[in-house]
Subunit: 288 residues, 2 copies
Amino acid sequence: MNGIEDFLLEKARKTEQALEGYFASWNGAPAELAEPMRYSLFAGGKRLRPGLVLGAAMLVGGDDESALPAACAMEMIHTYSLIHDDLPSMDDDDLRRGRPTCHKAYGEAMAILAGDALLTMAFDVAAQTGDAAIVREIAHAAGVEGMVGGQVIDLMSEDKPLTVDALRRLHSYKTGALIRGSVRCGAMLGGANAEQLAALTAYGERIGLAFQIADDILNVTGAEADMGKPVGSDEAHHKSTYPALLGLEEARRLAGEQVASAIVALDGFGAEGETFRDLARYVVERRK
Amino acid sequence: MNGIEDFLLEKARKTEQALEGYFASWNGAPAELAEPMRYSLFAGGKRLRPGLVLGAAMLVGGDDESALPAACAMEMIHTYSLIHDDLPSMDDDDLRRGRPTCHKAYGEAMAILAGDALLTMAFDVAAQTGDAAIVREIAHAAGVEGMVGGQVIDLMSEDKPLTVDALRRLHSYKTGALIRGSVRCGAMLGGANAEQLAALTAYGERIGLAFQIADDILNVTGAEADMGKPVGSDEAHHKSTYPALLGLEEARRLAGEQVASAIVALDGFGAEGETFRDLARYVVERRK
């Protein structure tokens, strides 16, 4: 796994540098708002979504430079969703990545506004690609037929046992859409042709599902020190999960099947696709 | 005022038709999310911001068709800001436009998500102009150096007496930026030249300030039946307002001065500018 971890680290560093640049350019922002935004954004995330944006761009012959705004926008949107999901009226979580959640550190009002601000500025950043189609791709992934729609389905499903199909739909919205959208934005900005875009969309779709199953498994089996939050929280919230519905072994098999199928989608890319093949494996083998 | 009210009504009808079309296109959205979004969006607002977008486009020779996505986006963002401002951790308001606020009707979690969704989809809609510069204009107006930044300054200023300059800065961010941005987007989409854009930016700036002073005055003197919410709420929240700082008469004089100065900014437009001159007057003479 070292190769792929190095790849993600390098892309994370570039993304963080670009994010710092954006914050520096917003010099009229009240410091009291920029602080909670930064607190949550620079909290040591894996930067998986930026890695997917930049990796997809590279895979179709593009460069980091032109894809970086989309990479930053996706990470900002991911961060806003964590801040709002943690709120007392949602999951009511106190810890995230080993630190107090944003509302625990700054109060509820400021956490809501920091999330709103990250979401808003993500679109300012995305539009710096100069490409309105990228803005639409990101809004779609984060929107009513994507992430925020999935969060609503999730809230309505608490204390209700779901079928595997319903759980799959929930996660295809809640986490899958942003992962698939990250791969698609990178491909589009890198100049993918229609066939490449279709292959990478299938890849994104499948690793999105594998990622979520792995997340559910880690919530049961993970080490609290690795996760930075209490394990077993899904069970405590009475959430339907893949291990709960299928058992651990079957959940692991299903995740493995998605990874294999994601790798098949990359057949057309030859040796150049190796990083993304490793990334698909990493998605289920990671420890946090 | 009949002429300008008819103008606003006509543009409101067009905007609402376009918004209905967008909702119809999001057919994968969970009904439980679309409902609170629609509850707050179709609550009989004045549609001032869409009127500004469409009016500015018309004034520089553009048409409604190409400016409508920005008009809808601005109204969606205005609505999301009202939903989040009303939340218990913010202003904790129970009534808005004569009806229970979104969180009173749907619960706090769903209100937060409906706001998030309106904000996200506003950018999908804005990007349907095909113009990334419009997306940036809107994100800037709604962002850390605009509306959400202003809300932070507002929260931090409760129970603290502000100077007139600090109050002006607060409102230039909190309400002024979206009003100015609406005029600017309409002008840009209508094909304004640099001189027209500068004149309309000055106009937007000045009616934005006049609008806020008038709002503060209405909060003191307005009829509860017209306002659809309790009058005197600013005082109850210990908010600095223009009437509180300057007295009613001086606040009225300042609003009138801004209107006059907004009208001067339209000098270059001749007879064509009459609607926007009326609109500037309407902003301070309205009863709600």
